[in-house]
Amino acid sequence: MGLNVLIVDDSAVMRSIISRSLRLSGLPLGELYQAPDGQQGLQSLDEHWIDVVLLDINMPVMNGMEMIERMRGNPETATLPIVVISTESSETRIEKIRRMGAGFVHKPFTPETLREAIRASTGVADDCREGARDDDGAATDRSRDF
């Protein structure tokens, strides 16, 4: 069974890039859902079965950090895999994201980088077999150091 993915980013272009990268990644995919901000992202979580959330940090209405805090505070989403996809470069904030149990992918990214981050967060393998999670269940990836 494929992964149902929620993509949360205020840029429609970036949501499209992420969707295309997912299709190129080789990951087993189910439904792809999109939201332009954290508030609508939380609403999508209420309405759909989601296996992993990919989200940006800097968004209007509700930013990514607040959305993660809300998710971790809700028993139904407290352990839901999250991968932050952002231009964030502050090691302070990236460390905080990691402590909240989320993976991190730096923009710009390749489909391969995104795949590895999702695999590390979800434990899913390309051939649909369940794989072992990493020890901390999350990954921090800097695909580009400009």
């Binding site: 205020d10 840029s11 429609a12 272009v13 800097n58 470069s89 502050s90 923009k107 710009p108």
Partner: protein, 157 residues
Amino acid sequence: MTTALRRIAVATFEELGFLFVDKETPDAAPPAGGGATVSIRFRGPVQGTLTVRLSAELLPELADNMLGEDEPPSERMQYDALGEIANVICGNVLPSLVGRQEICDLDAPQPAEDSALAQTVAAGAHATRIRIGLEHGYADLLLAVDDEASAGKDTAL
């Protein structure tokens, strides 16, 4: 700062926008018009604005490259694409301003007037301006810090 801004902008246009960059294009005063402009504000230990103007003929091509769809992108999506380019450049250049420990927040990119670059410099902001040759066009970038106290925190590249 000029070196870092140029290096990051070149990498972003090439890797995200798939636009070939002429690395030999020298800095020059922007032409009078004919560009698509977006601005993005950053807030933190330093505050300021990154403004990106792309020659008008390149905007549809940029969006088409980033989206990779059969249908030509709408004007809204074209500006969204340029805004995302500005977002990625801004986020990656901020460590050169504030270091890697400080946290900055970015506002959503906004379309801006072509005159935004000239107006920002005229207002006395501490600014770094570059031009990048892109295939048959150009991109002008202006990184402006709001006050001299913030500008004094520039770190070595």
